[in-house]
């Protein structure tokens, strides 16, 4: 049970509100080789059962992360995982290599699926060749656990999953946000500064669940499921579809302590149904 990148800051922001070391991992905000300002405001629009965002990977760059943020988070007693993005395979690899040197970061999540930046991100994640090129470059420079976060904005997500598995990914996480849009009909303008954004929240859950189920059958590496999980029941659906771990994203905004409740809820459900281990329900949907 982890919290998804971009929805939980560096964990510290939530420390007053819940025991942040009580969850399995915190995937911190997307980090790039060079600092990025992100997109202009407005970056967010509320939708039915969800939200659109076009933040655009605002971050101060990997060197700032290593020097200023890592010292603050390295002793949090859970898996602190860094989400890594870039605009070329070389950028991704260089950024990953610098994080490889940080002792208390056991894994990175490679973001080849951000829909909100022009120069990279999703551009790599929507073709097998693009996804493979990034994973190949990173795998040569990064020696710990490599998770690759997949885009749902593709015709066949299983092809991309297989392509990154072939290049040495240790795990895949899915889904990133679905590309969407919203319009203010009175102003005749889109609600986001760059017109389109990534859709997240409960509205994307059925799509995410279907893709997790497809990918879990297509690859031999562990699948991390995310997309609209807000309750223990949602999480159990993803486990039954074949995910061996889950991430909670947008729901953190509605209830900052939701991840602890989902963790406890999964355990209570397993107890109530006489399951000795979560393994008994993982992938039961064939």
């Amino acid at each position: 049970m982890m919290t998804a990148s971009g929805t939980f800051g560096y964990g510290l922001e939530f420390a007053d509100l819940m025991p942040i070391d009580g969850i399995g991992g915190i995937i911190v905000k997307g980090t790039t080789l060079h600092p990025r300002q992100g997109n202009d405001y407005p970056r967010m629009a509320e939708t039915a059962s969800g939200m659109l965002n076009c933040v655009g990977l605002q971050n101060k760059g990997v060197d700032y992360f290593c020097e200023h943020i890592y010292p603050q988070i390295k002793d949090i007693d859970t898996n602190m995982i860094v989400n890594v993005s870039g605009s070329s395979p070389e950028d991704y690899a260089e950024c990953a290599a610098r994080i490889d040197a940080l002792e208390n970061i056991p894994a990175i999540e490679l973001n080849i699926s951000c829909p909100n930046v022009k120069d990279g991100g999703m551009a790599f994640g929507v073709t097998c060749a693009g996804a493979a090129s990034v994973v190949k470059a990173v795998r040569q420079r990064y020696h710990k656990t490599l998770i690759v976060k997949l885009s749902p904005n593709v015709t066949d997500i299983t092809e991309i999953a297989r392509a990154v598995e072939a290049e040495g990914a240790d795990s895949v996480s899915l889904i990133n946000t679905l590309m969407g849009m919203a319009i203010d009909i009175e102003k005749r303008k889109t609600l986001l500064s760059i017109n389109t954004g990534g859709l997240s929240g409960p509205c994307v859950k059925p799509v995410a669940l279907r893709m997790v189920w497809q990918v879990a059958k297509a690859v031999n590496i562990p699948v991390i499921g995310l997309g609209g999980i807000s309750t223990a029941e949602d999480a159990i659906e993803f486990l039954m579809a074949g995910a061996t771990a889950i991430e909670i994203g947008t729901a953190n905004f509605l209830d900052p302590a939701v991840s602890i409740k989902v963790r406890d809820g999964i355990n209570a459900w397993l107890d109530a149904h006489g399951c000795q281990s979560v393994d008994e329900i993982i992938g039961v949907i064939k």
Binding site: E13, D16, L17, G38, Y41, P42, E46, A48, L254
Partner: protein, 257 residues
């Protein structure tokens, strides 16, 4: 300041205007410490079209009665649902969030300038100043006399000057037209209200060399500085209104127009 997730109990919902309600909340324990200018993220139940929490500024903290007051403009489905709350209902709140106004020091002359629902946080600010023995001066603007919110309570805590656009109360015009600005010098101005009003106040402050801070209300999601949706362009790059604000010194804002 430590943050909490609390189920607060609704003590009273008062319709003080066609478009505004005053919600008084309490809790079985003593309410946590909160600074003037900070805000609360409230969860809106019973409104299917309201997905995210709504950020509402802290209007007043009544320590004697252990009450938190929220002044809510009923603009959309979410805030209209809040207006329907009844005595005994529960409102789930994350609080206190953001950075408040700079506390006034002894001997300082501080002017609190508000417009519309933006007057809300200035009441708590003025009350805290009064409690420390520093007399606040309020300058409150509205369209008409009827739109001036909570004026009798402002009068309780300090001198309150008023402008209305139609001249139905106080001086006619905008807050920045009020004669008090030519008659007295202030050490600092804290302002909250519509952006054009705050920009005009900021312009006055720059021209007259008065320290000035403004409270922004960009659209936000998390309220904790995690999602980076509510950013404002500043001299330090994009900053989160929820975490780095909502109160900013105008020197940091790119409001030179």
């Amino acid at each position: 300041m430590k943050k909490y997730i609390l189920d607060l109990k609704v003590k009273q919902v008062e319709r003080i205007h066609q478009r505004y309600v005053l919600i008084k909340l309490t809790h079985e324990n003593t309410l946590p410490e909160m600074m003037p200018g900070q805000f609360v993220e409230v969860r809106v139940d019973g409104s299917p079209s309201t997905f995210l929490r709504r950020p509402i500024s802290i209007n007043f903290v009544d320590r004697e009665n252990n009450e938190l007051w929220l002044l809510v403009a009923t603009v959309g489905d979410g805030t209209k649902q809040l207006a329907k709350l009844k005595f005994g209902d529960v409102l789930n709140c994350v609080l206190p969030l953001g950075n408040g106004f700079t506390p006034a020091k002894q001997g300082e002359k501080v002017l609190l300038v508000g417009g519309g629902v933006g007057v809300a946080p200035l009441l708590y600010m003025g009350a805290e100043m009064k409690r420390q023995g520093i007399e606040p001066t309020f300058l409150l603007g509205a369209r008409t006399a009827n739109d001036l919110l909570m004026l009798p309570i402002f009068n309780k805590y300090g001198r309150a000057y008023v402008t209305t656009e139609d001249g139905s109360m106080g001086e006619k015009g905008f807050v920045t037209n009020h004669s008090i600005l030519n008659q007295e010098h202030f050490d600092r101005i804290s302002t909250c209200g519509p952006t054009p009003m705050m920009k005009a106040v900021a312009r006055y402050a720059r021209q007259n060399n008065v320290d000035c801070e403004a409270s922004l209300e960009n659209l936000m999601a998390c309220g904790l500085g995690a999602c980076l949706c509510c950013v404002e362009k500043t001299t330090e790059g994009n900053l989160c209104v929820c975490k780095d604000g909502p109160v900013f010194n105008i020197k940091k804002l790119l409001w030179q127009d």
